[in-house]
């Protein structure tokens, strides 16, 4: 079992090393290696999943590579195989394989073709490192490596000025989150001298009644650790304060946005909180904080998506708001629901991005939806895929998005967190609005394509679209009952009772949930938004004058945009220049060092004049010294 997991983990790494070795000698070779390595790990993870569920293995954990084994502490890389990690690795490897296959054609006319695949393979390896790790230390290493690969991939087109700025910003914001994660990790490591999940979970009760004092006031140790770890998750999963790097990371090639900024990397934060659910279940004040962060992100960022015009940025904002849904579920400690939405979201969001990619390639890198239109007739497959994905995104009944998103909203409503419930309901309206915006603008209206007769896209692009539509529509239905009844993630996640209890007396089974949903208010909002979108975007029959300050605020993403593009760079340059010029050079360097030597020069010049050269001056000094000496001797007597 463990060796299979090792193959699963190391296959992409071997792929990266091989690709590094062949250094784009031949495109075909690099394609084969990269796709094959991801395919291998995909099959292994499917096989392991199959093994795990049919022969219901117990979760295993093995330490693979010893990092440091000293008398006082023990650090090592290890693998942890249980339902959660296997499900996650299957999602990661499947999406990654499809994106690899897709990018064969997307990147075919790129000069550094091989480099792209090196980075994507490396990304998959580091993502698997996070998913399969059994201790905090390896989690942090995978976390940073994922940040690194996203930095490399966003800045893939090194010549594009905006790409370089975007990846610099993305890496730094991720680093802010990593500081929080590192502090949490080190707090555990120094006080309990172990980083292994199992040991920490067993200690979590003792941690709960220790406390740590910051600035004199004492906080509960467990809630401090959970808060710090969540800060890391906030940066990686783009929650409100640290989210502004995700829209800019659309500078990278579209397959990257599909793989990293929709399906896998951004979900690492959600996965971490779910994996540490035994700790988060105990720290309820932190969970409340997470709940509110999630709802705020879901609602407000959804609003921003309405005013965007770049197709990829709209989808990016929708990703952030969907992540907000997941964090809200985590906050309400409905961990299995959050993972469920994570999985379904991974598929249909990846599908959305890939459709956007094929649209962009077709319209020769035109990303602004205002001057794309009427592609329905010319790109039938992309149109069909986009339709299903957006239905699933909206949460149209029977689609997988419906099961996971409605599940979360109703569960939060069921456990009567009133304000979050209302905000999530409102964000259904915004989600449907902006998906209909793209849908009607891009596929209906007059056609802007000039080469109409040409075939849609080469087949490597279209096959992944077709393959992806299946899970993004039917996955929800397929695993809804197993998950909700607690079998799927029984051991892996804590506090399943909440979800099971919700499932038994509110949902009973998937079919009932489907039929019942038509009566709920969610569906009502959905239909209303659809009609509104239809008339507003397609028929353009009326337009609403949005109040001035609202639109400017939304355009400026609540000020985050110019905060990151104007204020922080200005602060960085001016403040550091000031520090360097004023303090380092002026006070220390010139102030202390150079003018001590200047003072010495002045003194020595004065002393020099003392030597006049005349003999009588010298004899005068000698004699006066003699007299002085005699006086002193006389004093002694």
């Amino acid at each position: 079992m463990i060796y299979l997991a090792l193959i699963l983990l190391l296959a992409p790494l071997v792929g990266t090393l091989l690709l590094l070795y062949i250094q784009n000698r031949s495109k075909r070779l690099s394609v084969i290696i990269s796709n094959f390595s991801i395919l291998l790990s995909f099959f292994v993870s499917i096989y392991l999943l199959f093994l795990y569920f049919n022969y219901n293995y117990l979760p295993e954990t093995h330490d693979v590579l010893i990092f440091a084994d000293t008398k006082l502490y023990y650090l090592a890389f290890g693998l942890y195989i249980d339902s959660l990690s296997l499900m996650m690795s299957t999602v990661v490897t499947s999406v990654s394989f499809l994106v690899h296959y897709y990018s064969i054609s997307y990147m075919k006319n790129e000069s550094s073709f091989n480099r792209f695949f090196v980075y994507t393979n490396f990304f998959t390896f580091s993502m698997l490192l996070i998913v399969l790790s059994n201790n905090f230390f390896q989690l942090f290493i995978g976390w940073e490596l994922v940040g690194l690969s996203s930095y490399l991939l966003i800045g893939f087109w090194t010549k594009k000025e905006s790409a370089i700025k975007a990846n610099y910003k993305a890496f730094l914001v991720n680093r802010v989150g990593d500081i929080g994660l590192l502090l949490g990790l080190c707090l555990i490591f120094v006080n309990y001298s172990t980083t292994n999940y199992a040991e920490v979970f067993s200690l979590s009760n003792t941690i709960n009644n220790h406390d740590i004092e910051i600035f004199g006031t004492s906080f509960n140790m467990l809630s401090a650790i959970c808060l710090l770890l969540f800060v890391g998750a906030m940066a990686k999963s783009a929650q409100v304060p640290l989210h502004f790097w995700l829209p800019d990371s659309m500078e990278g090639p579209t397959p990257i946005s599909a793989l990293i900024h929709a399906a896998t990397m951004v979900t690492a934060g959600i996965y971490m909180v779910a994996r540490l659910s035994p700790m988060y279940a105990l720290a309820d004040d932190v969970s409340l904080f997470i709940l509110y962060i999630g709802t705020i992100t879901a609602f407000f960022l959804g609003l921003v998506a309405l005013v965007q015009n770049d197709i990829k940025r709209i989808i990016a904002y929708s990703t952030i708001s969907q992540l907000g849904y997941m964090t809200a579920a985590l906050g309400a400690s409905l961990y299995s629901l959050a993972i469920f939405h994570l999985m379904t979201h991974a598929f249909f969001k990846a599908l959305l991005f890939l459709c956007a990619g094929s649209i962009i390639v077709k319209c020769h890198h035109e990303q602004d939806i205002r001057n794309i239109g009427g592609l329905r007739k010319f790109m039938p497959i992309t149109y069909m895929a986009f339709l299903y994905a957006s239905l699933s995104l909206i949460g149209f009944p029977l689609t997988s998005g419906f099961y996971s998103k409605e599940g979360i909203i109703d569960a939060i409503g069921y456990y009567d967190y009133t304000i979050p419930y209302l905000m999530l309901l409102a964000s259904i309206f915004t989600t449907t609005l902006y998906t209909s915006k793209i849908f009607f603008k891009v596929f209906f209206g007059e056609c802007t394509l000039h080469d109409k007769n040409e075939k849609e896209n080469d087949k490597e692009m279209l096959i992944p679209l077709i393959i992806l539509t299946a899970p993004s529509v039917f996955l929800g239905l397929f695993i809804f009952d197993i998950l909700m009844s607690g079998e799927l993630f029984g051991s892996a996640l804590a506090s399943n009772a909440l979800v099971i209890d919700f499932y038994n007396n509110y949902v009973t089974n998937s079919l009932h949930f489907f039929l019942h949903s038509f009566l709920t208010v969610n569906f009502l909002i959905l239909v209303l938004a659809l009609i509104f979108g239809y008339y507003y975007y397609y028929k353009k029959s009326f337009n609403i004058s949005v109040p001035k300050f609202v639109s400017t605020m939304l355009e400026g993403e609540y000020g985050f945009n110019n905060l990151s593009s104007k204020y922080i760079p200005i602060f960085q340059n001016l403040f550091t220049k000031y520090l360097w010029k004023k303090i380092d050079i002026l006070t220390i360097d010139n102030g202390l060092i150079n003018n001590t030597s200047a003072i010495l020069d002045k003194i020595s010049n004065k002393v020099r004049k003392f030597h006049t050269g005349f003999i009588y001056h010298y004899s005068l000094t000698i004699i006066s010294a003699l007299i002085l000496l005699l006086l002193i001797v006389r004093m002694q007597y």
Partner: protein, 198 residues
């Protein structure tokens, strides 16, 4: 007030007077002569002290040799006496100040530290015989023989250095240099001329 004391007082006052004249006179010749006179007076005082040999030596060595040197130098270098700089006047108070300070300290502070201050200075120390010269001679050639030789060397040194310093080579005068004469080789004397056809 016995006879010794009187002579001592007379000669010491004269001595002080002449020393002052040496220092304050503007004309170097005058000061040289005063110096000679002060040496004579101090020789007499030394006689009083019972050091006859030294007083004679003083007169012979100092007055005979050193003062003559001084006078030679004074005569040779045509020092223009006319430039009587009044400048030294305003340094006078400083000079007197130093003079008084120095005397005050030595005399008032140290003299009364001697226990038997009025010990009789006049004494005739006999080692092998009564006469001072004989005793000195004995001491010089037994106990201080090495120092005596060194004194001779110092004088030799004085002579040589004085000559070396002041001897100016006169380029015009011709003289034979044997070393150069010997080191002549065949090449710079003989010149073989070849290829002369009759």
């Amino acid at each position: 007030m016995n006879i010794e004391l009187i002579t001592f007082f007379i000669f010491s006052f004269l001595l002080i007077f002449t020393c002052l004249k040496v220092v304050t006179s503007s004309n170097p010749v005058l000061s040289a002569v005063n110096l000679v006179f002060s040496f004579f007076l101090s020789a007499v005082l030394w006689l009083l002290l019972g050091a006859e040999f030294l007083s004679i030596i003083l007169i012979l060595v100092y007055v005979g040799a050193v003062m003559v040197l001084f006078l030679f130098v004074v005569m040779m270098l045509d020092i223009n006496i006319a430039k009587k700089s009044a400048a030294y006047i305003n340094y006078l108070p400083l000079g007197i100040g130093i003079f008084i300070a120095f005397n005050a300290i030595i005399i008032f502070f140290f003299i009364n530290t001697f226990e038997n201050i009025d010990y009789n200075a006049v004494k005739n120390i006999e080692i092998i015989s009564k006469s001072n010269t004989e005793n000195l001679g004995y001491l010089l050639f037994t106990k201080y023989l090495v120092e005596f030789e060194i004194a001779g060397l110092i004088l030799l040194l004085g002579i040589i250095s004085a000559i070396v310093l002041t001897y100016k080579k006169n380029p015009k005068n011709k003289y034979q240099n044997p070393t150069k004469q010997i080191s002549v080789t065949k090449k710079d004397r003989l010149k073989v001329i070849t290829g002369l056809k009759e």
